[in-house]
Symmetry: C2
Subunit: 342 residues, 2 copies
C-alpha cells in the first residue's frame, strides 16, 4: 500500500466546527434543563447513576456528558464524570454563585430569534426583530433581564464599588440609571453604610430592584425614579452616576443626549461610571468585547460596542474632562470613569 502524502493544505475543520457550534449551545442548555451538573456534583458520576437520578436514558446521558466533557464543562476520569471548578461554581444549582438563572436570559427565545434573523439584520443594518429602540419600554425583556442577570454582575459590581473606594464609608449619593436588578447600586450600598442609591428604570423592572435591595438589607437607603432615563426627572447633586450596560443600545447622538442629562445630575467633581463592552480600535479584539457588537446588530436599531476613543469623544462632547478605563478581571467588560470638572 502506498503511504498517503502529508500536505500543509488548509483543512475544513474550523468551518465544520463553526457550522456545528450551535450544538454546543444546545448541549449546555440541555445539561442545564436536565440539571445534569447538579446531579454530577451530588455524586452521580456515571451514566447509570445519572439515569437513576434524572428522568432520562442512560445512553442519552452518556452521549450528552461525553459531549459536555469535550466542550470543557465537565471532566471524565476513568469513566467517571466530575465537575470542573467552573461548572461546580456556576452550573451546580446548589452553588451560591450559580449562574443557572443567567442562562434564562442568554438563552431566551427572544435572543435566539433575533440572532437567527442575522442575515436580514445585516441587510437592514439593524434588528429584524419587532423592537430595536431600547429607549422605549419592553417589559418582557427587561424584567427577564433583571430577574436573571444579577448573579453575573457580582465581579463587576464589586470591582466598581472597590474602584469608587466605597469601603471608606463616606456619604455618597448614587444615581443608578437603567438599574435593572439593581445589583451595581446595591453592592455600593452594602459596602458603604453611608451610600444612598436612587434607581431609574421602568416601573415593572424597579420592582425587581426593590426586592433585591430589600433582600440585601439596604432598602432604607434605596429609592426609585420610575420612567425613561431620557425623560424622567433624574434629580441632581449626585456623587456618582452608574451607567451599566446602557450605552451599547443606542447610536452616538442618543448616547450623548443621555450623557448630557448625567452631567447635569452630577455635582461638580462627581463621577460618571460606565460599564461596557469596549473593543480595541481594531474592533476585533479582545474577542468577547468585540463580538458583543453582533448582539447589538441583531437586537437593536443602532446600538454598538463602542471603542474607547468613541466613548472619550462622546463624553468630552458632553462636558466631561477626562475618562479613564479599567479592565474588570475575568469579565469581558471594562469600566470607564469620567469626571465632571470641579
Amino acid at each position: 500500500m502506498a503511504t498517503p502524502s502529508i500536505t500543509n493544505r488548509p483543512t475544513p475543520e474550523r468551518i465544520f466546527t463553526l457550522m456545528n457550534a450551535f450544538q454546543n449551545t444546545q448541549a449546555l442548555k440541555t445539561g442545564i434543563d436536565l440539571d445534569v451538573f447538579t446531579a454530577i456534583g451530588e455524586g452521580a458520576n456515571t451514566p447509570a447513576l445519572l439515569a437513576s437520578k434524572i428522568d432520562a436514558s442512560e445512553r442519552g446521558l452518556r452521549i450528552l456528558c461525553d459531549y459536555l466533557t469535550i466542550i470543557g464543562l465537565i471532566a471524565k476520569e476513568n469513566g467517571r464524570y466530575l465537575l470542573t471548578d467552573e461548572s461546580a461554581l456556576f452550573l451546580d444549582r446548589r452553588s451560591p454563585a450559580s449562574l443557572l438563572a443567567v442562562t434564562g436570559f442568554l438563552g431566551s427565545p427572544w435572543h435566539k430569534k433575533n440572532t437567527e434573523a442575522l442575515t436580514e439584520a445585516v441587510r437592514k443594518g439593524g434588528t429584524a426583530g419587532v423592537q430595536g429602540d431600547n429607549s422605549k419600554p419592553q417589559d418582557e425583556v427587561w424584567v427577564a433581564f433583571a430577574r436573571s442577570m444579577a448573579g453575573l454582575t457580582v465581579p463587576a459590581a464589586n470591582f466598581i464599588a472597590d474602584l469608587l473606594g466605597c469601603a471608606e464609608a463616606k456619604a455618597c449619593s448614587v444615581l443608578d440609571i437603567a438599574a435593572g436588578h439593581g445589583n451595581y447600586g446595591i453592592t455600593i450600598a452594602r459596602k458603604n453604610p453611608n451610600a444612598k442609591i436612587v434607581a431609574v428604570d421602568w416601573p415593572s423592572v424597579l420592582t425587581v430592584a426593590q426586592e433585591n435591595a430589600q433582600a440585601a438589607g439596604v432598602s432604607d437607603r434605596y429609592s426609585t425614579r420610575p420612567g425613561s432615563a431620557f425623560e424622567t426627572d433624574l434629580g441632581s447633586g449626585y456623587d456618582v452616576v452608574l451607567l451599566t450596560n446602557i450605552f451599547h443600545h443606542f447610536d452616538k447622538p442618543t448616547c450623548e443626549t443621555l450623557m448630557r442629562r448625567v452631567y447635569a445630575a452630577l455635582k461638580p467633581g462627581g463621577k460618571a461610571v460606565t460599564l461596557e463592552f469596549v473593543p480595541n480600535e481594531d474592533r476585533v479584539t479582545p474577542p468577547a468585547a468585540a463580538a458583543f457588537s453582533l448582539n447589538m446588530l441583531v437586537g437593536t436599531d443602532a446600538g454598538d460596542a463602542y471603542t474607547f476613543s468613541e466613548y472619550e469623544k462622546m463624553f468630552t462632547n458632553t462636558g466631561f474632562a477626562k475618562t479613564t478605563i479599567h479592565q474588570v478581571m475575568g469579565m469581558p467588560q471594562q469600566v470607564l470613569i469620567s469626571g465632571k470638572p470641579e
Copy 2:
C-alpha cells in the same frame, strides 16, 4: 481609589462563550448566504466596498465581518478584510474546493431541528425526530446529502484510493455501499482505469452518483444495485467493499448484520474499507470524532460513534481476521481496513 484584588477564581467566560456559540453558526451561515467570502476574495475589502457589491447595509456588513474575523474565518489588517487560506479555499464560491454546498447539508433545517430537540433525545435515548431508523429510505435527507457533501469527501476519498494502491492499475472490483454522491468509488475508478464500481443506495440517491460518475468520465465502469444494503442482492467476488459513514447510523447488532453481508460479498483476501468517526476508548478524544456521537443521538434511534475496540469486536464476530486503523490527515475520520481471510 482601592485597587481591586486579582484572584484565581474561575470565570464564567467559557459558559457565556458556549451559550452564544450558536451565533458563530449563524454568522457563518449569514456570511455564506450573502456570499461575503466571495466578495472579499474579489477585492471588496471594506464595509463600504462590500455594501456596493452586496445588497446589505455598510453597518451590518462591518459588524458581520468583524465577527467573522473574531471567529477566525477572515482576517482584518489596517481596517481591510482579507480571506484566510481556509476561507479562500473553502468559502469563496470561485474556488474549485469550495464547500459552500456542504453547508447546505450541515446547516439543514432537519439537522437543526433534531439538535434543538436534544433534551428530548437524551430523555428517550434516541432521536426525537420523525425517523431515526436509517435502514429505511429517507429520500429528502439522503439526496440532499448526496448533492451537497461530495466536496467534503475529497481528502478521505483520495486517502482511501491511495491506501488501496489504486495507482497500480490492477483489475479491481469495488462495491460501494450507501454510495451517496458516489465519490469514494468514483475516486478509485478515476485513479485506477481497471477498477469497476458497483454502487448500492436508494434509487433517487443513485441518480446523483450516476451523474457524478458521468461527470468524472467513469460511467462505463460504474453500475448500480438499487435498494437497501440490508436487503438488495449485493453480488459477490469483490476485491473491495466500501463502507463510508454508514455504521454510525445503527446499533451494534445491525452493524454486524451488514458486515456479514459484506463478508459474503467479498472474495477471499478481499478488503472491507470502513470510513468512520472513531473516538478513543475514553469517548471524549479526539474532539471532532468523539463529538459526532451527539449527531447520532439527535438524528438516529440507536447510532453512535463507535471506538476501535467496538469495531474490532463487531468485525471479528462476523469473520474478519484483522482490522487496521489509519488516520485521514486533516479530517476527523479514520479508515479501518478489515481483511477477509484467503
